[in-house]
Amino acid sequence: MKKKIIVASALLGAAVGCSHMASYAPVEPTNDQVKAVLKGSFREVGQAKLDRIDQDDVQRICSAASAGKALAKEDAERIEKSQLAGIKYPADGYMGDWKAGEKIAQQGTGKQYSDDPAQPAGGNCYACHELTKEEIAFGTIGPSLRNFGKVRGFTPEVQKYAYGKIYNSEAYSACSNMPRFGHMGILTEKQIKDVVALLMDPQSPVNK
């Protein structure tokens, strides 16, 4: 859908352009050109430095993929493999405290230039996911996580999967919309464990 409209509007643009100017065709700027324009258009404030505009491989490939260039199977596999290899699992189990996890899921601040970098960041899970029955102000960019543990089973394997998925979503689904909370240092190991407990503790309201 998305691609079709963009192609259509580009064609339209080209067609209209032709009636005025004989031979001007739109040229897609290179990634380096885009980066240069961005670097000249943003200024550093607080914790948000200009290096946030520099992309890693995942961001570069996923930008091209979302702009209409299909994600090649090799690229998707390479992303998932490299990101999976970088996950650091905790030494003492995957489960923390679901009550602390619920607070992290509710908190939307963290890493914005308007945020105090001395305060821990939130996970903002509810911005995109349904989790507990009680919280009806949830977003829909991600799938519902209601009854996450109850549906999948309260097993160590699922705990490990949940930890890994929160740590680095790209390890399981290349070009996912979900931030890489552990890989990018948004959440600490303890915080991720607390969110795993929110999903996986049989007593958590997610599973009630």
Binding site: M1, K2, I5, I6, S9, G13, V16, G17, H20, M21, Y24, P26, V27, E28, P29, N31, V34, V37, L38, G40, S41, F42, R43, E44, V45, A48, K49, L50, R52, I53, Q55, V58, Q59, C62, S63, A64, S66, A67, Q106, Q107, G108, K111, Q112, Y113, S114, Y126, A127, C128, E134, E135, I136, A137, F138, G139, T140, I141, P179, M184, G185, I186
Partner: protein, 272 residues
Amino acid sequence: MRPNRTIAAALLLAAGLGAGSPGAQEKSKAIQEIEKYRAALGDDNPAELWESRGEDLWKAKRGPKNASLEACDLGLGPGVVKGAYTVLPKYFEDSGKVEDLESRLVTCMVTLQGFTPEQAKKDPFGGPGKKVPMDALVAYVAAQSRGMKMNVAGTHPKEVEAYEMGRKIFFYHGGPHDFACETCHGADDKRIRLQDLPNLTKTSDAQRAYTTWPAYRVSQGEVRSMQWRLNDCFRQQRFPELEFASPASIALTMFLAKNANGGVMNAPAIKR
């Protein structure tokens, strides 16, 4: 305008909305209150205060050259305000640049009124207790295109270049959260919390979104421009701060405005 009481009520409401993250029921109650407030206002929109202040500013002799902006060419010829918002952003021969409304106003403040570019760009957005000329001028000019269809040409080579750049910026993932504009605005019928998100890659959504900015934000008690909208999106995207009237901001506006062609302008609108 209606009595100040409604405005005061809106500000109280705004204070409640701004504080932390209210529970779901509280929040939906707040949304209902805004709906009631909007209904009570009827055809009145607090943005009218900005519009009339903007008209005065447009005609006022200001700056080192003690001149008004009445000779400013916003894209349809010197002094033509009616319909100008529908053709912006546009390439201007005199500046050699593609300019959106805000950057064009800066150019005219410099060339006609004699302000330095730094002075003209100094206070781009209003805040608590601070009303700025830019917001008022934007509200005035945009309001003069109400009921008219967006009609951005985008055919000059520099305009095509800006559109293509804006398109790439829209899909540019970066920062600690890997977010791009597209993360939130690339699919149909999505929400953040309870806030509906327009799919800006789809014509109908792109039209509905673009034609309702600038807007009076009830939660902030301010008229907010498109430049402000983009600035605050990038803040939440965890990028550094988008500079006012910067090349990236104009390119992205070109992408959004041209995608909204055919949509009927209804700004300044009232928004949450």
